[in-house]
Symmetry: C2
C-alpha cells in the first residue's frame, strides 16, 4: 500500500533555489505542495508558471496555521529565514530552508532553543554537499582513508554577481547577512562535516573591491578555520566570476591528507575540452596511485527522499541538527568577526 | 671586445639548488667559478662530479678573502645563510643565495644593515617566480590589467618529503628555520611582488600531522596576508605530496581579479593527458573571454644574465633589495608568530 504523501507549504520565493527544492520534493512522488505564499507579485508569477497547480495562500499565517501541513519550505529574504523557522516549529511544522538558514547569532540561538523545545526538524539545503555527486563520493573516499587523515581543506566559492538581476535586499547588509554567511556557508558546512564538528575561526576578512558605490556591500570574503579533528581550512568566496564563465562559478575543494591529495572540480574543468561542464563528476585523487580521475557516475543524491523519510519517521539523519547548528555558528562567527579591509 | 667574465666562488652545497645556480651562472658564458668550499665530503664529491674543473678551496675564508672574487654563491644550511651574507658583503662581495636566504628576524636586520653600509648586492634565488615562465607571463598579464585589479592570491606549495633523502639539519628547527620560511617564501615573495610591498600577516598556522616521532618538525603551514595595494592572499605549504606525483609537487597560484581569474599550474596538470608535465607553461585565464590557455612559449627566464649585469653595472634591478627584504620579513613573521596546532 502506498504511504500517504506528506503535505508541505512554501513561504518565501526570494531565491530561485526554492523552485529546485519544491521540484525535488514533488519529484519524490511522496510529497504534495498544498499552498504557497510570497508577497511579491513577480515571484507569484514565477511560481504560477513553474507549478500552476499549487494554490497561492492569502498570507503566511494561512500556511502556518493549516493543520494538514507537516513541512514548511522556504527561501525567503535571508534575515527572515531564522524568525520563520521559529514560527514554523512553534506551529508544529518541520522546516526546510535554503542556505543561508540564518543571518545572526541571536536568531541561531533562538532556532536552537525552539528546535529543542518543539522537537521539530530543521533541514537546510546545503546544495554543494548534499546535491553534489562529487562531494558525496569525495566524502566516502576520504572516510575510507584513501588520502589518509585530513590535513587541509580549501573551499573556493567564486560566483557571478550579475548585479542587474539581483534583488535590492541583497545590498542591504541586515537583510542579506553578508557574503561569508551567504556563500561561505557551503564551504564551512562541508568542512564542519569533514572536521568532526564546529570549527574554530582563526581569521576572516571582508572586502569591497568592485562595488564602490555601495560601501556596505562586500564582494570578497575569506576565513581560516581549524576543526575538532585537527584539520585546517581556508574558505574564499567572491562575486568576481566573469560572465564568460560557462557556469555560475568554478566551485572547487582542494584537500590534502597525510597520504594523498584530492581535488573536487564541482562545476567546470577550466580550459579543458572546450571548458567541459563536468556534470558534478570531476574528482581527482593522487595517493599511492598517480593522479587519476574517479568516476562519480551512479552516485545518487537522495536529499529529498531522505527529508521525507526523516519527516515521516521523526528521525534526524539527513541534515543532523548538531552539525548544522555548528556550521551556521562557525559561519556567523567568521562573518561577524571579520576584519573589514579598507580600500 | 668580449667583457671580462665575472669571477665567483661557492660556499655551501647543502641544497641541490646550488648546482642549478652555478650551472645557470656558468651557462651565461659571462661568469667563471674560481673555487668552492663545502665541509661535507659527500657534497664535495657531488660538486667534483658536476663540475670537475672547479677547485675545492681549503675553507670558506679562502674564498671570502680572495680579491678576485666578486660574487659568492651559496646554498649552505639555512641558518648559516644570513651570517654568510653578512660576511660576504663585509668582504666586499656580492651574494647570491638560495631561498630561504635567512631564518631569523635578527639575522635579517643585520643583512639589511650591512647591505646598506657596504652597498653590496644581495640576490635571492626565488625560483618559483624568477625561473618560471608561467609566473613571468602571469605577472605581465596581471600588470597589463587582463583580470583587473588583484583581489586574492592563493599560493599552494605542496612537496614530497622523501624523508630518507633529507639531511639531518632539516629536522633541527634552528638550522632549518621552519616550513613557512623554507617553502612559503616562494608564495609570499610572489605576493609581495604583486601586492606592492611588504604584506601584513593576518594569521598563520603550523602543524605536525605526519611526523609524530619528531614533535618539533612541522609538515604543514599556512598564512593569510594583506598587501599594501589591498590584495589578499592565502599561502599553504606542506610535505604530503605522494611519491606517485609525477613532479616534486603540484605548485599552483590561483588569482582572482576584479575582472577575471587566472590560474598558474606551474608543474603539472593533474590527471589530464597522462598527467602532462606542462614545462612551466600552463596559464589559464578567464576574463571577458571564456576560460582559455595562454601560451608561455618564448618567455625566457633571464635571472642569471640579469644578476651578472647588475654585478657589473652596480645596479639593483633583478632582485630589488626593498622587495626582497619585505618578502623575507613577512615570511619570517608568518613563521615566527604562527599558531602551533596541537594534534
Amino acid at each position: 500500500m502506498e504511504a500517504m504523501k506528506i503535505k508541505f507549504g512554501v513561504i518565501g520565493l526570494n531565491h530561485s533555489h526554492v523552485f529546485a527544492m519544491v521540484d525535488g520534493l514533488l519529484k519524490t512522488g511522496q510529497a504534495e505542495c498544498v499552498a504557497y505564499f510570497a508577497p511579491e507579485k513577480e515571484l507569484q508569477a514565477q511560481m504560477q508558471k513553474a507549478s500552476p497547480q499549487i494554490p497561492l495562500a492569502r498570507n503566511a499565517a494561512e500556511i502556518l496555521e493549516n493543520p494538514d501541513i507537516q513541512l514548511v519550505c522556504s527561501a525567503s529574504i535571508n534575515n527572515d529565514r531564522g524568525p520563520l523557522a521559529v514560527q514554523a516549529m512553534r506551529h508544529g511544522k518541520d522546516f526546510f530552508v535554503d542556505k543561508p538558514a540564518v543571518t545572526t547569532l541571536s536568531d541561531l540561538d533562538e532556532i536552537e532553543r525552539v528546535q529543542r523545545e518543539t522537537g521539530r526538524l530543521w533541514f537546510v539545503w546545503y546544495g554543494e554537499r548534499l546535491m553534489d555527486p562529487a562531494s558525496q563520493k569525495g566524502i566516502e573516499l576520504l572516510e575510507s582513508g584513501v588520502i589518509g587523515r585530513l590535513v587541509n581543506f580549501i573551499g573556493l566559492g567564486p560566483h557571478k554577481l550579475r548585479r542587474p538581476t539581483r534583488p535590492a535586499w541583497m545590498f542591504v547588509p541586515e537583510q542579506y547577512g553578508g557574503i561569508i554567511n551567504d556563500v561561505g556557508i557551503h564551504q564551512i558546512e562541508m568542512f564542519t562535516h569533514l572536521g568532526g564538528g564546529k570549527p574554530t575561526v582563526t581569521s576572516s576578512r571582508l572586502g569591497n573591491f568592485g562595488t564602490p558605490d555601495i560601501p556596505s556591500f562586500h564582494d570578497f570574503g575569506d576565513a581560516t578555520l581549524t576543526a575538532p579533528n585537527g584539520a585546517t581550512a581556508y574558505v574564499r568566496v567572491d562575486w568576481f566570476t566573469p560572465e564568460s564563465m560557462p557556469t555560475f562559478g568554478d566551485i572547487r575543494n582542494i584537500l590534502v591528507g597525510t597520504k594523498g591529495m584530492m581535488e573536487l572540480r564541482k562545476t567546470v574543468d577550466l580550459a579543458v575540452d572546450n571548458n567541459r561542464f563536468t556534470g558534478h563528476q570531476l574528482l581527482l585523487v593522487t595517493n599511492e596511485k598517480a593522479p587519476h580521475r574517479i568516476s562519480c557516475e551512479g552516485i545518487k543524491v537522495t536529499l529529498y527522499d531522505d527529508i521525507i523519510r526523516d519527516v515521516r519517521e521523526r528521525q534526524n539523519r539527513c541534515v543532523p541538527h548538531a552539525a548544522s547548528f555548528a556550521a551556521c555558528r562557525a559561519t556567523l562567527e567568521a562573518q561577524s568577526r571579520a576584519i573589514r579591509l579598507t580600500q
